[in-house]
C-alpha cells in the first residue's frame, strides 16, 4: 500500500473510531464505504470509492437519501482519471488536502515554549471544543466526550497565559499515530502556537513508539507542518454532489 493510501485509510479509521460510541453506522457497499451518523456536527464522508458508470448512480442515490451525506474523498489519480465522469454527474471539488508523514531522517525541532501543553481533562473539554470548532464546523461535545476515555486517542490542550488557545488530537491505529484537530484560537493565529502543539504531538507519538506519524493538511497550513519535519506524499480531494434541479 502506498504511503498516500495509508494516510487516507488512517483518516477513515479515525472517523470509524469516533463513530463507535455514537449514533452511527458503517455502510459498506461494493463500490464504496461510508460512516453515516445522525450527529450533524460530524462529517459524513464516502471513502474507498470505485468510480465507474455503475457506481456513480449508486453514490448519488445514497447521497440523495441522506441529505447530510454529501462528501466523497478521492485521491489524485481517481480525480484525474475520472474528470469527465465526475463533471458529467455534477460533482464539485471543495478542497485539496495534502497527505503528510513525519520524515524519520529529520531531527525533531525543539518546542518554542510559548505554550503549556496538557492532556485535556473532562472539565476542559468544553473549552477544547470551543477552540477546535473555530477551525472546522461546530463539533459535538458528546462525541468528543467518548474520545477522552478511549485508549487510542489523546486530546491535547495548549495554554497561553492560562487560557486554552490551541488544540490537537493524537489517534493511534495499527502503530501509526495521526495528528488531527490542530486548531489555534482565531485571536492567536500566525504566532507559531499551531506548530508548537503539532511538534508536541509528533514527539508524543514517537515517545509512544509509533512507527509512523501522519497528518492531513489544507494547502494553507502545509508549509507550517513541513517545517516541523513532515513530508508531503500527494493529495486527496473532497468533492460534493447536489441533486440537480428537476
Amino acid at each position: 500500500m502506498s504511503r498516500h493510501q495509508h494516510i487516507i485509510n488512517h483518516l477513515f479509521a479515525f472517523f470509524e473510531h469516533c463513530s463507535e460510541n455514537s449514533t452511527s453506522k458503517l455502510l459498506v457497499n461494493k463500490h464504496f464505504k461510508t460512516i453515516t451518523t445522525e450527529d450533524s456536527s460530524w462529517p459524513n464522508f464516502i471513502f474507498d470509492v470505485q468510480l465507474n458508470n455503475n457506481s456513480i448512480p449508486e453514490i448519488t442515490e445514497t447521497i440523495s437519501n441522506r441529505p447530510q451525506l454529501n462528501h466523497i474523498i478521492l485521491d489524485e489519480k481517481q480525480l484525474e482519471e475520472n474528470e469527465d465522469l465526475l463533471t458529467q454527474y455534477g460533482f464539485i471539488p471543495l478542497a485539496e488536502w495534502a497527505c503528510l508523514e513525519f520524515d524519520n531522517s529529520t531531527t525533531l525541532k525543539q518546542n518554542h515554549n510559548n505554550l503549556t501543553i496538557k492532556t485535556t481533562s473532562p472539565k476542559d473539554l468544553k473549552d477544547w471544543i470551543g477552540v477546535a470548532s473555530s477551525g472546522f464546523k461546530a463539533l459535538s461535545l458528546e462525541l468528543f466526550k467518548n474520545l477522552l476515555s478511549s485508549k487510542n486517542t489523546t486530546l491535547y490542550s495548549g495554554y497561553h497565559q492560562n487560557k486554552l488557545i490551541a488544540t490537537a488530537l493524537l489517534f493511534k491505529h495499527n502503530n501509526t499515530a495521526g495528528i488531527y484537530h490542530v486548531v489555534t484560537h482565531p485571536n492567536y493565529r500566525n504566532k507559531g502556537f499551531g506548530a508548537e502543539i503539532f511538534s508536541f504531538c509528533e514527539q508524543e507519538a514517537l515517545k509512544n513508539k509509533a512507527d509512523r506519524v501522519i497528518a492531513q493538511s489544507t494547502q494553507e497550513g502545509l508549509n507550517t507542518w513541513i517545517d516541523t519535519g513532515m513530508k508531503q506524499y500527494g493529495n486527496f480531494y473532497l468533492l460534493c454532489w447536489n441533486k440537480p434541479k428537476q
Binding site: E83, G90, I92, P93, Y237, W241
Partner: protein, 82 residues
C-alpha cells in the same frame, strides 16, 4: 461583460442559492464570510454560475476558487475564450 457586471451577476446568483437578498460580495469575500455559504451551497453556486454564463470549469479550476475575485477571474477568462 466587464468585471463589475460579473460580480453583480454572481452576487445575484449567490443570493438566489441562499434564498436571501442581502448578501453583498466583493473581490475578497470567501465562503467563511457569508452565513449559509456551506459546502453544499458552494456546490450549487458553482453549478449555477456555469449554467448562467454557459461555461464549464474543470475540477482543478474549481479547487482554486478560494475567494470571489478568483471566481470573477475564471468567469471572465472563460467568457473571453469561449
Amino acid at each position: 461583460m466587464n468585471r463589475t457586471q460579473v460580480l453583480q451577476e454572481i452576487t445575484q446568483l449567490l443570493n438566489e442559492v441562499l434564498e436571501r437578498n442581502d448578501v453583498t460580495l466583493d473581490e475578497n469575500t470567501t465562503a467563511k464570510d457569508v452565513d449559509g455559504w456551506d459546502s453544499l451551497n458552494h456546490a450549487i453556486f458553482i453549478g449555477e454560475i456555469q449554467q448562467h454564463f454557459k461555461i464549464k470549469f474543470s475540477l482543478r479550476e474549481v479547487i482554486g476558487l478560494k475567494k470571489v475575485g478568483n471566481i470573477c477571474d475564471l468567469v471572465i477568462e472563460r467568457l473571453a475564450n469561449d
